[in-house]
Assembly symmetry: D2
Amino acid sequence: MNFASDNTSGVHPRIMAALAAANDGHPPSYGADALTQAAQDRLREVFEAPGAAVHFVATGTAANALALSQFAPPWGKIYCHASAHIQTSESNAPEFLTGGAKLVALPGEDGRIAPATLAQALHENGRDSVNSGVNSVLSLTNATEWGTVYSPLELAELSARAHAAGLAVHLDGSRLANAIAAQNAAPAAMTWRAGVDVLTLGATKCGCMGVEAVVTFDPDRAAGLGYRRKRAGHLLSKHRYLSAQILAWLDGGLWLDLARHANDMAARLGQGLAALEGVRLNAPVQSNGVFATLPREIFARARAAGAAFAVWPGDQFDDGKGPVPVRLICSWDTRADEVDGFLSVLRAG
Amino acid sequence: MNFASDNTSGVHPRIMAALAAANDGHPPSYGADALTQAAQDRLREVFEAPGAAVHFVATGTAANALALSQFAPPWGKIYCHASAHIQTSESNAPEFLTGGAKLVALPGEDGRIAPATLAQALHENGRDSVNSGVNSVLSLTNATEWGTVYSPLELAELSARAHAAGLAVHLDGSRLANAIAAQNAAPAAMTWRAGVDVLTLGATKCGCMGVEAVVTFDPDRAAGLGYRRKRAGHLLSKHRYLSAQILAWLDGGLWLDLARHANDMAARLGQGLAALEGVRLNAPVQSNGVFATLPREIFARARAAGAAFAVWPGDQFDDGKGPVPVRLICSWDTRADEVDGFLSVLRAG
Amino acid sequence: MNFASDNTSGVHPRIMAALAAANDGHPPSYGADALTQAAQDRLREVFEAPGAAVHFVATGTAANALALSQFAPPWGKIYCHASAHIQTSESNAPEFLTGGAKLVALPGEDGRIAPATLAQALHENGRDSVNSGVNSVLSLTNATEWGTVYSPLELAELSARAHAAGLAVHLDGSRLANAIAAQNAAPAAMTWRAGVDVLTLGATKCGCMGVEAVVTFDPDRAAGLGYRRKRAGHLLSKHRYLSAQILAWLDGGLWLDLARHANDMAARLGQGLAALEGVRLNAPVQSNGVFATLPREIFARARAAGAAFAVWPGDQFDDGKGPVPVRLICSWDTRADEVDGFLSVLRAG
Amino acid sequence: MNFASDNTSGVHPRIMAALAAANDGHPPSYGADALTQAAQDRLREVFEAPGAAVHFVATGTAANALALSQFAPPWGKIYCHASAHIQTSESNAPEFLTGGAKLVALPGEDGRIAPATLAQALHENGRDSVNSGVNSVLSLTNATEWGTVYSPLELAELSARAHAAGLAVHLDGSRLANAIAAQNAAPAAMTWRAGVDVLTLGATKCGCMGVEAVVTFDPDRAAGLGYRRKRAGHLLSKHRYLSAQILAWLDGGLWLDLARHANDMAARLGQGLAALEGVRLNAPVQSNGVFATLPREIFARARAAGAAFAVWPGDQFDDGKGPVPVRLICSWDTRADEVDGFLSVLRAG
């Protein structure tokens, strides 16, 4: 019963097999190999973006910060939700890799930015000036940190406002597969067709060992990215092992199958929780995460049974007495019987 | 009729004379001269802080960012008011000179942070962790960007909360002289006795040509500041000309006399404005700035008469039709007849 | 016949098996798992350094730059050989991750720094001052970029000079296994007992998929390293897959067996080359690299046969007509018959 | 008898008068005032560069680092002489303000880079690549740190080589006035006509209080410089006081008169020294600095008489027993009788 995070799950067997298969031969290092070319091409095909620049790295934090650094100068401002990973969980990596850009945190229900909130923030921040700096990027997260999902239409509306104000749009797609599966939309519809300029595509949380892609839809904007990646220490020498993961992950739609399964498990879990007396869902269940407040005794039963999950959005929200807000994440390898078993434990009082 | 900013005013004659007097001889450069030693000592004396480390630079932005860099590591978080100069008007200099620290902007009426707001923000940001970064600094501004003033007691309460949570306290004292004059309190009472760990003391806006001091009350924390200042290009070679300004400025309490005069002019202006029909003060007048919303016709008369002042907090808040929020700053050289003449213009409709 | 680099070789089967074995369960992410603890402990044991701080990352560039950032402040100077990887091949990552430290490149035969050269450089650079910055680190590489190896005694002499001048000693051990195997010395003797303060231990080039360790022998100096790693995007979420590699690599001395094999192959290759008329070795063969100048016709035969290797130290040293200086690297999976076949090709004129 | 540095001298009376004259009125701050416009225009006129972008700052270190940051990306390489101020005396400010560019130090007699040395260095560093970084800037200093002067022809030859290799050319003109006076050449001939892309024009050492100009001859390259200056804390609020200095300094050729006088004094001093038995000049006297090795007893006499000057290139070159290498700098206010008096002291043994 492990709902701690999708990054505590292992590697899907087909991806593990792809790593083993990549182990032959002596291809060039640093990304000049055929597997890397193939993975980049496959990704461009899946996103219907034949001209996109594609760079692989091993962590989501690196992917986000490198993606942002292409569009935000050191004196730039990056607008994001207050709960965005780049704001709360990357130890200032975006500030570091951009050379000092400022993150402007916006409020919003369920982890989402409302268009009116964005408009208001842009109004208040005013025009670019030497003193105020430059309005540079709107960073969205999909699925959000609260498990909710923007639709293509919603993304397009936010992007349009951002572009009108001169901002580029970054999408933190650490869980984009889950969002796409949830919307049953084309990858292109959830990204560049909705105005996204640069995408961080997460694969690690969805069955890979450790690989993320920075997809820059206008390759001219990626001119320096090879240098940026290397000088930040993020160019892996045996690069084929990143690429092999991506190829296997995309192959036959595995990525969306794994995401859909995780979403299904979360739906199952969410429904079960909602039926429990005293439990309140803190956000609609739209992808692979369930956010709920548990009565103290239910929380205690779950912990006593050894279930792993997080108090959310932080341990400080458990006062030791009252109800406890928690996050429960389902993964590609969460089993239905695991969900049901967990629910049984909760009900067993 | 110039109420644009206290940095459009000139240099006080006594300070200009001090610059001329400093022009003799060939003292050592880079701050190793006797005038610099004297200015540092005088400042320590005035603040009753014999052990403090004192460094001079030519701009407030440099002073703020250098001050912060001593207490916030690159992975640190700095809490400040949403209207703080370091947040709105320094083009990310704090992020740059700290090596990437994150500024967390807090709301608050009249440019002030309420203790409960600080407590809530610290609660929500939670404990330090490798992912979230480190809670490092509370940066206060006194007088604030809305002309209001924290009392020693208010400062002490905020500092106590900050210290309890492991944060150091920085005071942006770009207009500290005005705040001290307003409170009629001792400089020590408005700084280290109220828990301030590092002070940016502004002199430029209050009659100097261009000099600010970074005052680090615990000199151990200033161990690297000499290097930080130099490697940011802020160590002036003919350093005596910074020091001479400070000496003359502090001499005989000139600094507080100038600040008091500016405050008095703002009080006179605020009272006159408040008496005008349709004018609303947007913040209490407590130092040398007056913040008011002017009916369109009054605003137009002021502009037609050539008065200089800013739409505040930005040009985007003038919709071209309705009332206009403005900022009117009085300076050490604002004259009473200038204030009265301005009020006459406004009334002349 | 691939002598391009030791990072074009694959992953050793025992390490691949360890990755597969690590794929079970849902251990905590971000390095809080038992495998990581075990790998750190095993490494400390192998180096007889029970108190050392051990951090894993995926690239050598990251490991070097993070290691240096603990000892060189942004205003620090780092002395290294002119051919050091940190100087020539990391696209300024050390400058970036230290926040701006300066690399001072020293000359020296065969990729090695002579004690007198170090002494002379330290003399010329003089004492620390606010203007000149701070002498901070001596960075050595072992085995060097020219395949030569410092002995424990040589390391100790250089370290002693560095320490006497207040510098810490960093060892870029991208190929430390090869150096240890070559010297048949204890890991401790080649590192901390010889004065090394922080080690970058490379495993990727010696049979792993992608993992390096930063070993800080005095853990107090590593206080901020967890933050530094995260904020540079180098904390892998599914961290156990780094640790599993290290464990299998150290297990039963595999690392030294692989390194010794690579060294043996280089010795075989070097002897064969030296026996060819017109071939000159450019550095003594002491680890797994052979550096030689080939007559044009021999060079052409090798290329025609499809052998992969680099013109060294750069393509610009091939003038298209005369003899060509080359680098030939042997790896853990280089076969004796591959070496012999290559030599046959060269001789076949 | 002060030959310590040209930055220990005071401010020329005409410049002091200009500061006093600038003290009237309330012009806009942050460089939007008429004096600043006039100073920029005057400088463009003097350099026959009507389109150049001109930015003023208060220190030479800031001017150099900002100038370089326009042409060297964080992954760039900057070639300079080993004795260049940016390499030896700015505490890594260039590395900091460029975001991490690497300085490559070149040897060369008398503080000068020989064309062949540059060619060799560029050859050895090879082509740009993701691993090696980008060859970006050649930084020259004129007059050099050893008081020697490049002629327009010599500058043009070095620039041509740099441009052919894709590098921009930066000129550290901390003492450009002295170099121009020495060559009796047009300012344009010593800068952009000789291939200089960006100039740091020093005025502080030549009679000003504290002001330097960054002159970017192709204004398109200066697009971000306003932001760079502000975010480094180098935009002075009461900016007119920088501009007033420049205007008075250029007015009527004062700058070159002051420089010529300093050069003349150095020539007088150099001739006197060369005539002393046992004294050796360490570089030809071509501008306002004299570099000589003094016999111990002469050195001791000078010190005993209270003369101020530096052991050069560092205190460590005084072994306490033998002859001592020294630097003697003449300034705009060095008097002939001061030089003669100093020589008398030296001869008085």
